[in-house]
């Protein structure tokens, strides 16, 4: 699942993920992503932007981590928020990895491999 309010960024990340063999669903903010999860979508991994309208990425991570049934979803922040304190907040909330924009496709693939959701 790719969650980002920029449709250009959803397109870029979606293309990278499809290229790595994933089926991709998209959401423009955390609230719509939660709605997709509630309707039965169960992604292996969610790539989550931080700054989004309606529900931001940190609130999404907190909401997902509160629900036992969503515990197996791997959460990776993909965001311009690069302050150390923000990275610590996201990881403390339950994000597994953190990628700072701009990124390369290889950087995304490397992080996914580190998380064990991508076999090289």
């Amino acid at each position: 699942m790719v969650i980002d309010d920029s449709s250009a960024m959803r397109l870029i990340l979606g293309r990278i993920m499809r290229g790595l063999g994933f089926d991709v669903v998209e959401a423009p903010n955390g609230a719509e992503a939660i709605a997709r999860l509630q309707s039965g979508s169960m992604p292996e991994i969610a790539l989550v932007d931080w700054n989004m309208p309606v529900m931001d990425g940190l609130a999404f991570v907190n909401a997902v981590r509160k629900e036992e049934k969503w515990r197996q979803i791997t959460l990776m922040m993909v965001t311009t928020e690069s302050e150390q304190s923000q990275i610590v907040r996201a990881l403390a909330a339950g994000a597994h990895e953190y990628v700072i924009k701009p990124f390369t496709p290889d950087a995304i693939a490397d992080k996914l491999a580190l998380l064990g959701v991508l076999a090289y």
């Binding site: 309010d5 920029s6 449709s7 250009a8 960024m9 397109l11 870029i12 700054n51 989004m52 309208p53 965001t79 311009t80 928020e81 690069s82 302050e83 304190s85 923000q86 700072i100 924009k101 701009p102 990124f103 390369t104």
Partner: protein, 151 residues
Amino acid sequence: MTYIPSADDLEVITREVWTSFLDGDPAGLLSGSDGVGAERVTGCVHLSGAYTGSIMLACSAPAARDAAAALFSMQPDAVTQTEVIDAIGELANMVGGNVKSMLPGPSALSLPAVVHGQLAVPGAQMVREVHLTWRSEPLVISLWQQAAQAA
């Protein structure tokens, strides 16, 4: 004394964003330009907190259209205004977020705002500016600081 990223810092950050998402070629973005005319698109993100101010990305309308075309992998003449706004907003967000990491923190980063034309930031003064050229079109990145902090 507050450290303010230099014009070179702004250029390095912009070059990294452009290389990652638009050109793949560091030489595609040239230093210097004659400035952006009235027919411009401006993207802006605001910072509030330890540093209060704004980061603006202004470019000519053709540069904005070409940037959107590159991000969306489209032909420039097929790009809509919605795609231009999305693309310039995301580019301003990426440049702004990386500039923010060099400023005193913590600060909150706003969602990007995009306008056709010039954008004014009431009570702020420009502290850094860098002029660039992409595909023969001008691009200007500027950092603004709220006057009370700048004093």
